[in-house]
């Protein structure tokens, strides 16, 4: 019972197939209370599928999903009323004015704070008399963001909210994330392509590829332990056997190793094997993502 108290989301061994194609493969994720949890991965990696499981829009085929200690499929009302959700392409009722929309949304959430909602709308400089249809994509996202925050949800779920938005709207999304965690210690689940944003705001990073979790670690560790090592060593390098090395490229007698490891230990090991370390460089999240994404396409791994 203790784990459900500390974890807002608790997903265990979740597998999901669509027509025999695995969208999620034995995924285990726990989102502790008060954290900003980032999900990154290529398109079609399974991010949205995972989020739809959390919202109860997908039924778990194998494994279990628990949100606030409840099954979101069995208790949609109880779970959804504590979640704020915004997706990349929100299908809002476009015929409503913003005022109607907020009025409509308010009825669903017992904790809806009308004053806070009005304040959020004002901050986003939106005219409540306008119809949602008449708004730009960025303005629509802002309306969605206001609606997702006004009931101070315990879990804010943002599914690629920034895609295709202008910098101002993107900034507001980041602000919403920070506001959510800073004040009440509520949790955020952020799926995004924009790695700089993820790097800025997330506590924990989940890296998805082809429905599998490639990496799940705290942002601190992800940033501190991803390195690129350039070394010179005669002969073949059995890099697959090295701890934490996930990709390697041979280039004119020099090797570029991409690793997720304790850098001092690894360089020590490499030097013992007779390698000459030319350079070690910390990888940014973007570079780490690219290096990890290309690892599946590297022929070296198959050999």
């Amino acid at each position: 019972m203790n784990s459900t108290d500390n974890n807002v989301v608790d997903i265990r061994h979740l597998t999901r197939r669509f027509n025999d194609k695995a969208a999620l493969q034995d995924v285990t994720v726990r989102i502790p209370r008060g954290q900003v949890f980032g999900i990154v991965g290529e398109n079609g990696a399974g991010k949205t599928t995972l989020i739809k499981h959390i919202l109860g829009l997908y039924r778990a085929q194998h494994g279990s999903v628990s949100v606030f200690g409840m099954d979101p499929v069995k208790h949609p009302k109880e779970v959804l009323s504590r979640i704020g959700y915004l997706s990349e392409q929100p299908d809002f009722p476009e015929w409503m004015t913003i005022a109607q929309f907020m009025n409509y949304m308010a009825a669903f959430y017992p904790n809806w704070d009308r004053q806070y909602a009005a304040q959020l709308l004002e901050m986003a400089s939106l005219d409540a008399r306008k119809k949602i249809r008449e708004l730009s994509k960025g303005q629509q996202a802002r309306v969605g963001l206001c609606a997702a925050q006004a009931h101070r949800p315990e879990l804010l779920v943002l599914d690629e909210p920034s895609s295709g938005l202008d910098p101002v709207a993107r900034r507001e999304i980041l602000a919403a994330v920070i506001r959510t965690v800073v004040h009440e210690g509520r949790s955020v689940l952020l799926s995004s392509h924009l790695l700089e944003e993820v790097e800025r705001v997330c506590d924990h990073l989940l890296f998805f590829s082809n429905g599998e979790v490639l990496l799940s670690d705290s942002m601190e560790a992800v940033l501190d332990r991803h390195y690129q090592i350039t070394l010179r060593r005669p002969g073949q390098l059995e890099w697959q056997a090295l701890p934490g090395v996930f990709n390697a490229v041979a280039d004119n007698g020099e090797w570029q190793l991409f690793c997720f490891a304790d850098i001092d230990q690894l360089t020590g090991l490499l030097q013992l094997q007779g390698a000459q370390i030319l350079d070690t460089r910390r990888l940014s999240l973007n570079e780490a993502f690219l290096a990890r994404s290309s690892q599946r396409h590297t022929p070296g791994r198959i050999a």
């Binding site: 602000a175 800073v182 800025r200 705001v201 506590d203 601190e220 910390r282 940014s284």
Partner: protein, 131 residues
């Protein structure tokens, strides 16, 4: 307290905060016993995870740049208004190294470079006195 985080630099945000606060203290723009922005406020201002700010403050505190008063906030510590000799040396060494490579590339001799540095140092000294 004006901090700027740059993206695409490859430097993790908490390291950027640490170095910028150090710069602010070293350059005297943050005085001893002056209070720093609370973690939450700075996080909202920079749009960055509060834990990142907390980590930067924590590391600065263990390095002796800051001290915390329980319930009151985080303050600039006395006695560390300059970088430790070792860090200074390391930082400068890196930059000189880069400078030398560049100069060699542009066919500027080491003697010429030293002359240039001396001249500019004199200028900087004057400027300091005037201000």
């Amino acid at each position: 307290m004006n901090l700027h985080l740059t993206q695409h630099s490859g430097v993790p945000p908490y390291l950027q905060i640490i170095s910028q606060i150090k710069q602010l203290i070293a350059s005297g723009r943050l005085n001893v016993d002056q209070e720093l922005l609370p973690i939450r406020v700075l996080a909202e201002k920079l749009l960055i995870n509060p834990n990142t700010v907390a980590r930067a403050y924590r590391e600065l505190e263990t390095a002796g740049w800051l001290y915390t008063k329980r319930g009151a906030g985080t303050f600039v510590a006395a006695g560390t208004t300059a970088f430790s000799a070792e860090t200074c040396r390391k930082q400068i060494r890196e930059r000189v190294c880069a400078l030398l490579v560049e100069a060699a590339h542009m066919n500027i001799s080491v003697a010429e470079l030293i002359k240039l540095i001396r001249e500019m140092g004199n200028d900087l000294g004057k400027g300091d006195k005037e201000s």
